[in-house]
Symmetry: C2
Subunit: 482 residues, 2 copies
C-alpha cells in the first residue's frame, strides 16, 4: 500500500559530477534524519514506490536502504523501514562550546610565546649547511634500499629500531664519541625530542624534580613539562652545569638534563672534575643523567671532547644524539643509549610505546655510515663550519672595533654574543629577523629571570656573504663603528 512520501524525498535527483544518484539519495536521507526533518519512527516509502517516483532503478534505492540500515539510521520490520530514534544534537551547537572545555593542566605551563617559523634563515642556530648535504648520494642510498630489499622491510620491524643501524651506530659512537655501548643499548627514536619524552615517561613520575640547565635547551623543558616534572633551573657557567650542594639537598633530582660537550646555548665544555662529580652525586641520589650530545661531532680544536657517558663503567647516563645536525633535521632520526642494566627493565614498555621508525630511511642511513660517506661528510662539514665560525668571529670583532667576549666555538654550529644589560636581546633578534636573519635571543633560554642578554648566532647554514651581511646589519642596530 503506497505510503505518503515526505516531500524531502521527492525532489528530483539530477546527475552531478563526482557523485552518483545513489550517493545523493543516501546523503539526502541521512542529513534529513540527522537534522530532524525525518522524525524518529517515521515510516519510509517502499523501495519500489520511491524508485518509481524518483525515476531511478530500484537497486539504487535498495542499496541506499542497506547502507542506512548498516549504519543504524533505518530499522526494518514487517511494516517497512522506519527512522531509528537517535539522540540528535539539540539545535545549533554553540561554536565556542569546546573552547571552554578543560584541557590537560600542563598545557598552561607551556609558554604561550607564539612560534615563529624562521625556516632556514641565516644565523638560525642548530641548522647544518643544508645546501652542502650530498642529496644525490643520499637519494642513491635510499633508492638502493627501496629497490633491493624484500617487502617485509615495509612492515613493522623491531620497535627499538633497525638492528643493522643500531650495530653500525654503536660502533660509530664507541670510536668517535667514546660511548661505552653495544647495539642492544641503542634505541632509535624520531629525533632527540622523542628520546627526551621517552626518558621522562620511563624514568620519572609527575612532580619529580627535573634539573635543567640555566640557560638551557627549550626542547628539554618542553619534554619535562609534558611529564609534569618540577623544573629546577641549575646555573651553567663557563665549565657547564654547576649545581651547588644546596641544590642536591633541597631539590634532589630524578632527572638531570645536561649538554656537557658543548653547553646549549653558552658553548661551555663541562670539565672532567664537574663530570665526575656529577656522576658521583647522581649515583648517591639515584638520579638519571640525560646527556644530550647534540653537536659534539663538530669539534674544531684538537680531538673531540668525548662523551661523559664513557668516563666510568655503568654511569647512570642516558646518552642522546641525532642526525639532525650531522645530516639534516627533516630526517627525524635520533637515538638514545641506555645504561646496559636498564635494557631489560625498559624493553617491555619500549616495545609497547614504539613502532620502530621508518625502516627504509634507517637502512639507507646504515649504508651511508658503513660506506664511509657519513664520516667523509662529517669531515667536510667540520672544515666548512670551522671556516664559517672564523669568519663570523672576525667579522664581529672587526665591526665592533674591539675584542668581543664571544662564548662557545670549541665545537658545534653557533656562537653566543653577550650583550650589555641595557640591551634587549629579544628586540634585537626581532630587528634582525625583519632583515632576514634568525639568531635567537639568549634571554629566551632562561627559565627564571635572564641574567645575561645576548644573541645565539648559528653559522652552520650561513654562507660567507650572509655572515658578512648579518654582521653589517647587527653593527647598524648596535651602532658599532664598523
Amino acid at each position: 500500500m503506497p505510503t505518503e512520501i515526505p516531500p524531502l524525498l521527492l525532489a528530483p535527483l539530477a546527475p552531478v559530477t563526482g557523485t552518483t544518484l545513489q550517493q545523493q539519495l543516501y546523503q539526502r536521507i541521512k542529513q534529513g534524519i540527522l537534522q530532524g526533518q525525518l522524525a524518529a519512527g517515521a515510516v519510509l516509502p517502499g523501495t519500489r514506490q520511491l524508485a518509481s517516483e524518483l525515476q531511478v532503478s530500484r537497486n539504487t534505492v535498495l542499496n541506499v536502504w542497506t547502507q542506512l540500515q548498516a549504519e543504524g539510521y533505518l530499522m526494518s520490520d514487517r511494516q517497512g523501514s522506519r527512522v531509528t530514534p537517535l539522540a540528535l544534537p539539540a539545535g545549533q551547537v554553540d561554536d565556542d562550546t569546546l573552547t571552554r572545555w578543560p584541557l590537560a593542566k600542563r598545557i598552561d605551563v607551556f609558554q604561550r610565546r607564539p612560534w615563529v617559523d624562521t625556516g632556514a634563515l641565516p644565523l638560525r642556530p642548530g641548522i647544518p649547511a643544508l645546501n652542502h648535504f650530498p642529496v644525490a648520494a643520499w637519494r642513491r642510498a635510499l633508492s638502493q634500499v627501496m629497490s633491493h630489499t624484500p617487502p617485509q622491510l615495509l612492515g613493522y620491524g623491531d620497535p627499538l629500531g633497525d638492528a643493522e643501524l643500531r650495530t653500525a651506530l654503536a660502533q660509530h659512537l664507541r670510536i668517535t664519541r667514546g660511548v661505552r655501548c653495544d647495539a642492544r643499548q641503542i634505541v632509535i627514536t624520531e629525533g632527540v625530542q622523542q628520546a627526551l619524552m621517552l626518558c621522562v615517561t620511563l624514568l620519572s613520575n609527575p612532580g619529580d624534580p627535573g634539573w635543567i640547565e640555566e640557560p638551557g635547551y627549550r626542547g628539554a623543558k618542553a619534554a619535562f613539562r609534558a611529564g609534569e616534572l618540577n623544573l629546577i633551573p641549575i646555573p651553567a657557567d663557563h665549565q657547564g652545569l654547576a649545581p651547588q650542594p644546596g641544590h642536591w639537598k633541597q631539590a634532589p633530582p630524578r632527572l638531570i638534563y645536561t649538554t656537557p660537550t658543548h653547553q646549549y646555548p653558552t658553548g661551555a665544555v663541562m670539565s672532567a672534575a664537574r663530570r665526575l662529580a656529577l656522576i658521583a652525586a647522581a649515583r648517591q641520589h639515584r638520579a638519571w643523567i640525560i646527556e644530550d650530545d647534540y653537536d659534539g661531532d663538530f669539534h674544531y680544536h684538537g680531538d673531540p671532547i668525548m662523551a661523559m657517558q664513557g668516563m666510568t663503567d655503568n654511569a647512570p647516563v642516558i646518552y642522546l644524539g641525532s642526525f639532525s645536525k650531522t645530516l639534516f633535521p627533516a630526517l627525524r632520526i635520533g637515538f638514545m643509549v641506555l645504561p646496559a642494566p636498564l635494557v631489560s627493565r625498559l624493553t617491555p614498555a619500549l616495545h609497547q610505546l614504539l613502532r620502530g621508525g621508518n625502516r627504509p630511511e634507517q637502512q639507507a642511513l646504515t649504508r651511508f655510515i658503513l660506506s664511509g660517506d657519513y664520516r667523509r661528510h662529517l669531515g667536510k662539514m667540520r672544515r666548512l663550519y670551522r671556516q664559517r665560525q672564523e669568519l663570523l668571529r672576525s667579522e664581529l670583532q672587526r665591526a665592533a672595533g674591539q675584542s668581543l667576549p664571544l662564548l662557545g666555538g670549541d665545537s658545534g654550529l653557533h656562537l653566543v654574543l653577550p650583550l650589555d644589560s641595557h640591551h634587549n636581546d629579544a628586540v634585537i633578534a626581532c630587528q634582525l629577523h625583519q632583515a632576514g636573519f634568525a639568531p635567537a635571543a639568549l634571554s629566551e633560554f632562561y627559565l627564571a629571570e635572564p641574567v645575561q642578554q645576548g644573541l645565539v648566532m648559528g653559522y652552520g647554514n650561513s654562507s660567507d656573504t650572509q655572515i658578512i651581511a648579518a654582521t653589517r646589519q647587527l653593527s647598524r642596530i648596535l651602532s658599532w663603528p664598523g
Copy 2:
C-alpha cells in the same frame, strides 16, 4: 729541570692502525688519571722531555696536553702541568647497581608480556599486502621530491607538518571519510601511536579516567598508561562501544578511545544511535572522544561507513588515522584532526613538542595523493582484500564443516574466529606461530578477564596459498573435519 717520569707514561708508543700516536698518548694519560694511577696533583713531565723519551714530536705531546687541559684533566701553572683532583669512582662499580634504581611507577603497569617479533608472517593482523605496494611509484615520488626541491626542505618545517600534505589530506578526508575539517585542524604525526600519546598529554591529567574498548586496541592502552590514566574497560558488543549509565556516573571519562567504523578487534560497526548518544553524553560530561579510524578506507559492502567526527558540528572528537595500512607500516606517517576550537589552544604546546616529521617523505606522500596514485592503490587493495577475506571465510567454513560465527569483515584487514570457552586461544595462537602463522589471541585484547576466546586473523598480507595452508593448520589443531 727534568722530573721523574711516572713509568706509565714511558711505555713505547708504536703505530697502530686506526689510531695515531697522539690519540694513544691521550688515552694513556686520561685512563691513567681516571683509574687513579696518576694521582691528583701529580706533576707531569715537561713536554720537551716526554717527547724526547717517547721519540715523538714535541707537538704531539703539546696537543695532548692542550686537549687534556681543555677537558679539565690537567691544570697548568708555573711549575708545569698537574693532574686535576677528580671525584674518581670508588673502586669497581657494582654491575647490578642500576638494576635496582627506581624507574617511573608507570613502568610497572606495562604488561610484562614479552614482545614476539612476528614480522610479516601470514595472518598477522593489521599488516597490508606488502608485496603489492607500488614500490617503484613511491621511489619515483620520493626521488622527484629529493631532486627538485630546495635545500630548505631538509631543514625544520612547520612543527604540525607539511602544509601541502595537510591540505591534500583534509580534502581526501572530507570526500572519502566525511570528516569535517580544513588543513589547519590537521597535525601530522609519526603514526597513530604518537597521535595517541599527544591526545593523552594535551587533553588529560594523570589519574583521569580513560575509557578503552573491551576488548580493545593495545596501543591505546599503552598510551593511556604512559599518561597514568585510570584505564576503565567499557564493553564493546555487536554495535561497538556500549557504555552503561553506571559507567558515566561512576567513572566519567576525560578521554574515550573508540574505533566506531570497525571496532578493533571485533569488527563491529558502531550504530548511528550509539554514535550520537556517545557524542551527546561526551558533550554533557566534557569528555574528549578519540576516534581511531585505523582501517576505514577498506570497506567491502556498499559505501564506506563515514567517520563519527563528521556527524555533527563541533563534535568533541579527535579523529586519528595513519598510512600504515593504506601504504605501509614502516612509513610512520599518521595524523590527528583536532576539533576547530582546539587548534589555537593546543598550537603552542604542539609547537614545542613536535618537529614536523620527515618532510621529504611527506612531500612524496602529497604527490602520491594528488597524482591519484593513492586512490588507485586504495581501490586495487580494496579488491584484493575483499577476495582474500572471502577466501579465508570460505576456507574456514569448509574446514569446520559448519557455518562459523565469524566476527567483522565489513571493512578492514582481519576477521575474528570466536572459539568455545574450553579452548585457550593463546595456546592455539602459539601453535600457529610455530607453524609460521601469526594470528593474535583475542584474549590478549582484554584488560579484565577475557569473556570470549578467539583468533584475530589478518588476511591483508596473506596470499591465497598461505590462507589455505593456515586454515589447514588450524583445522588440525582444532580437530575440524576438513
